[in-house]
Symmetry: D3
Subunit: 300 residues, 6 copies
């Protein structure tokens, strides 16, 4: 019975967070260990389904990760990186796309759809969702976002689905581009007017001192986060995440979160509990002032 | 962190129940201690809000309880019971209605609306919701349900509200009738095609032997429940509840639950956890075979 | 046959008024003798039903009147007035609410619903309709309107119902406040963008000289009405009515009417005949220039 | 004041009739003196507008009447009747259509639209509303209804308009047919599921003895009406009206009325007063049992 | 097979034009030989049906042409022109209206409806579509457009119909006015926000030198077209067309076309092929820059 | 000009076919040379866009074809066929899915979306569209359709998109199955209530004698087609097509077509011209009697 009471308290603790988030859109960048570990993937899937059922509209954005290299090697193709980005010729792009769209995307879609007809996996090609342009000649078919046409995403949300988006973009030349999924997530959140964007990574968040595990920063302002970069105090993996957070925040998204996807149900805890997990970046480092809730003014 | 994990597991445990209940209507008979104890009332209110936000449509039905007698005594009116029912003349009916509609109803409405513009309190008079006829000449304005016109209730649900219904009915003679709230709850659940009806009482459920606290029955069939009545093995307070359960089950409602409203968050635990609490009555004593979910066929 | 012709002419006379009012909202402050006289109440009810069926959306606002004092006395509670307002402690507030919501409201709802499933009675608690703040410490739970959230009223109108509103408000402290119904009617008309607000009273309107029965003013400007107050030429009962008219007119309602509810079918005659009855107050004392009708530009 | 009371009573008298008719479709066969007398036409127009505004959907059906002969004579065309029907060759058909569609139809449309953008005049050609076949070779382009496609009429009603229909039909040969407007009205009422069909004529109704002005029949059954024909007791002008009533009644329309359009506001009095005017034919000679009203079960 | 390939290429050639026009409204002034030649009328009709089915919304505007004179002469009425316009007294107006609404309108409606329930013929009287005022006392009931209320036209379009509009207007005096159909077409295109307006005439377009058949101008600016008028280089029949084009262009319509209706399927070729036919007038003489298509940004 | 006339005639020829197909769904099995030849693919894409824009709803179904073998060989995986079907273990299934979903699907999607935001590519995993079960243990993850949930497809159609479906199904075991695309196309057409299903292949249709190129059968009944199989007169490639046609026809689809995708614009010619191309199979070998068109009964 004591156990039951604890359960009831946990469910009740979620209520104010559900009220605040009800009817909003939340973009989740899916990545890291959650992509490769089937157990973590199932957890992320059930967290997303729970969000959807309680009235939040999750939109998932993902890249391809380590599987691309693995397939390219199996196909005997050269794997080259430049400035931390994969040099991508046409043949590589074909493999990138197959892995992203035909494997990674459908693995998450299937995990979600074990719960019902919820997820629909699409890519930047579908309904001309993501238009891309090349980053540099050197990198070939590595692209950056030129424009996002959210028509198909908003239709899928209204139809009751969870869109799962592989970050391939189409270019003026008719070919495809591989785009960094963090940046797409940031831009997508801004384009959709999302209430928050969550980046699932393999670390717990930003550290004031990245050698000191106890220096995890719970909340900071965008200026502070960019200060950490300027002072070279962030790990290299965090720099593009902070850049993507900046895209979202400057595009009007009130909150950006960096979470460790290895923490079971990290998304759930972030969205539905008092503690939250990981690091939250906002425009000014504080919880944004609540706008009028979809449920009207509260009392008292 | 261990604590967080437990929280995450509790939230996750709720997922299959939310999936099953999503989009359904649940009628809750509000009564007993939850009506008079403000702390319990707040808990019921937050449970109902949580249900509403996660896609379940709660409809509350309530009577007046002990407050009616108290007001009648303060007004110096005679209080008489016959066969366990309050003898109700026109003057008494006026008081009944004021207490039900003007006090008990708005207390629950206010508790719910502390969370947002959710509850709307109505009575059987509103939009001709409940038509009543007299039970017997001896009892005066004690009535039973003749017809339910659910128009206003379904409109309020579609408009995003939680209807809270005081069980006063209107009669052919233009006057009002006081109707047993358990029976209205059972009929209302049937009329709305509800997925379940929950009776909040002050006891834990039905007992195989009502002197033995450890003989609480977790689930039984309607035939078994009616057998307990025939064998005179139920407390007198439980007999009308079982009668109301029978009305609902025969009207097509798959499940009826009798819960102890004094258990904190009893409704929540019943709807969102594996254990459930109290006694469940179904047509055959088993969990009803799932009909197709609103989320389509599951997998696996 | 001559009689029939007269009937036809009366019906035809209503046509231009129906055309002008079609699709508009009209707030009616229900009060005075119409609240206590069952015959007059039936007439008001049928007038409101007729308005609804011919495409006008009536919204009724009412207070509690003399019945509150009567119940308080029967309960042996002290009755005290200060500055013309009832001093209201928590115990008195409970009685106020029961009488308003559980008795007066449902009497009018029932009278209307004798014609079909039309009226739905609510109070300021329902869907957080009326937020109140205290007027003064001395008066206890006497409140004034702080905010109106018209969500539930507009939903009820769209669903085909006639909302009947008891003027209890909720406060920051979770408790209720008793608000002057005239002022709520004025504010409600402004919040709903009503085409007119009608105050049903027990006198025929405003008098140029309130000792001279033949000095009834048929139409005047708000400035003129406020001038009458400044010159102390209005009866004390009319002062809050004019104040409420001012709230409505300054909030954009084109016309405010003060009618004698004892005149049979006063509302009907005001809305559907050439003569009108009682006193009309407008911004400038003239009939407001017609805005484009819902039926398009007329001809000729 | 006494006069005002009489007005109020007349308006109130209309209420039960409005309640009963609210949301229903009423087909009015426009004809006789109302077509040629501008004052009567204005009265019919305002009656139809009033019906529309109070929630009834009038649909008007009309033929061409005496104006056709007049134009044919002015054009020097031969005018020939056979069996009471105009022998109509192609040249005559052209004139028929111009008078019906270009003159009679627009005269009524204009009279109605003096009140606002309400009437839309169409013919059987528009949206393939009325398909016709020839009655006999002898009569040329005189047709009878083969099929009615109500699509455009129901769209116009839903769009808030009053359809005014000229009874020209299209044939398999691509040409037009002139169809008796009484019969079209009867068939149209059946096709639309109308609540009643009203025939405006120049006599007061059916007479038990057509020489005795005091023998007007107020209500009779279809069998009785057809009995009067069989016994040769009806004037020749009434026979096709009764035939059209029969088409409507057999097609499910509960009531058919024959009224004298010279009586000012005859339609209004029929629809909105206790007395009614003219003759009502129903399946069994009684007022049809009310089906459930659009406003739900009444009380008492 | 080679033949089939040519067909396929023609259909494919239409694709970009369909994409560009999809969902837009196109006003077609129907006139000249297409009104009197049944074969040309059938072609226009099938072109309009094709436009409708491929997602373009054609709206047809027409006058009466030579048939009016013919009927007036048959009726022995004087036919007088002044300044190129028909002097129109009340009797003439009656004939004008019958020919326009009862004959010319229904001939085109019937030709279209041979393909299905598509066309609905209306006039300026219907739903108060076109309000007119007199041009001059001398001309009697010759009018010009004072106001257009597009309500009925947009409803008919949304309901899936092709509106066919006879250019009779109603005046303040309750009477009708005959309005030049070219001018109505220009104003109607502006009022509807049409993507183009097409004038079907009996000449091929504007000529740089109207004696030289090879000097047809394919495209020019409005300023150039008005320059041709100023220099007296246009035939008199073209001057009102250019005036109507100017009304449309100044009202925001991007393109105006003058086509020879004697060219089989001229409308079709204009809308669906690379070549186009006739003369196009635009604000600056160039193809207007494409606004964003209803299908989103294209690729490449 | 003569050329223009030919173009106009071709466009006009398409009109009756557009009328008949307007608003219907057509399933196209995309396959053979159209999948591998970029020029043919562009043609198919523009044909599908044209269909969509003229009011037909194309739904594309495709398998993977020769590219799967090519990738498997590049990855050094064994390629084995049994009974004409690819033996598919888990590793092979992963490759199948990547090629179908990540390459073939997006190639067609991109070709279509060159025309605007039209195509959305999905697979049987998305929104649990296609549930599969294994065909035999020997074949591993080769599946057959167990159930189709068309929810996402109908939503995409209503949202204005062209669904492009890769024929991977999900199984009870959480894994994927490769399903013959012909059979999915047949079942999908039946599940969607399609008006026709078109199979694009590399041959011209069915031959009465498959050695005689001039024995192509233009139309035949299902019984005749199955007779050809029974008599062993069809090429082996045609047998599953005929089987898929049978599934569609028995599921209520009126027409099944087998076309040569190498014929430029074969789909277009089939849908929009008199000749048609390839072989049509219907229940009885005749053109199915037209059901009532979406445009109503025609004339004449």
């Amino acid at each position: 019975m004591k156990d039951l009471l604890a359960k009831a308290e946990t469910l009740t603790e979620a209520l104010p967070w559900i009220k605040a988030a009800w009817g909003t859109t939340v973009v989740v960048k899916y990545g890291g260990a959650t992509m490769t570990d089937a157990v973590l993937r199932e957890m992320v899937a059930s967290d997303l389904v729970l969000m959807k059922l309680v009235g939040i509209n999750p939109v998932i954005v993902h890249g391809g990760g380590p599987e691309i290299t693995s397939f390219m090697e199996r196909l005997g193709m050269p794997v080259e990186f430049f400035d931390g980005m994969r040099v991508t010729d046409d043949a590589a792009m074909e493999v990138v796309k197959m892995v992203l769209v035909g494997k990674v995307n459908k693995e998450l879609v299937s995990a979600i759809n074990g719960h019902g007809r919820l997820a629909v996996g699409i890519s930047g090609d579908d309904a001309n969702l993501i238009k891309a342009r090349p980053v540099s000649e050197r990198l070939g078919r590595v692209g950056e976002v030129e424009a996002i046409d959210t028509t198909v995403v908003t239709h899928l949300i209204e139809d009751g689905f969870i869109p799962v988006i592989a970050t391939v973009g189409y270019g003026d030349d008719g070919g495809s581009y591989n785009i960094n999924a963090d940046l797409v997530a940031g831009d997508m959140a801004a384009a959709l007017g999302a209430a928050k964007v969550i980046f699932l990574t393999d670390v717990d968040g930003l550290y004031a001192d990245f050698d000191a595990k106890d220096s995890l920063i719970s909340a900071l302002s965008l200026a502070e986060a960019e200060g950490l970069i300027a002072e070279d105090r962030l790990s290299s993996g965090m720099i593009p995440k902070v850049g993507a957070c900046a895209r979202a925040l400057r595009g009007g998204v009130p909150r950006a979160h960096i979470l460790n996807g290895k923490v079971p149900h990290a998304v759930l805890l972030e969205v539905f509990t008092d503690e939250g997990v990981g690091t939250m970046i906002t425009a000014d480092g504080n919880h944004p002032a609540a706008t009028e809730s979809a449920l009207g003014a509260g009392r008292g």
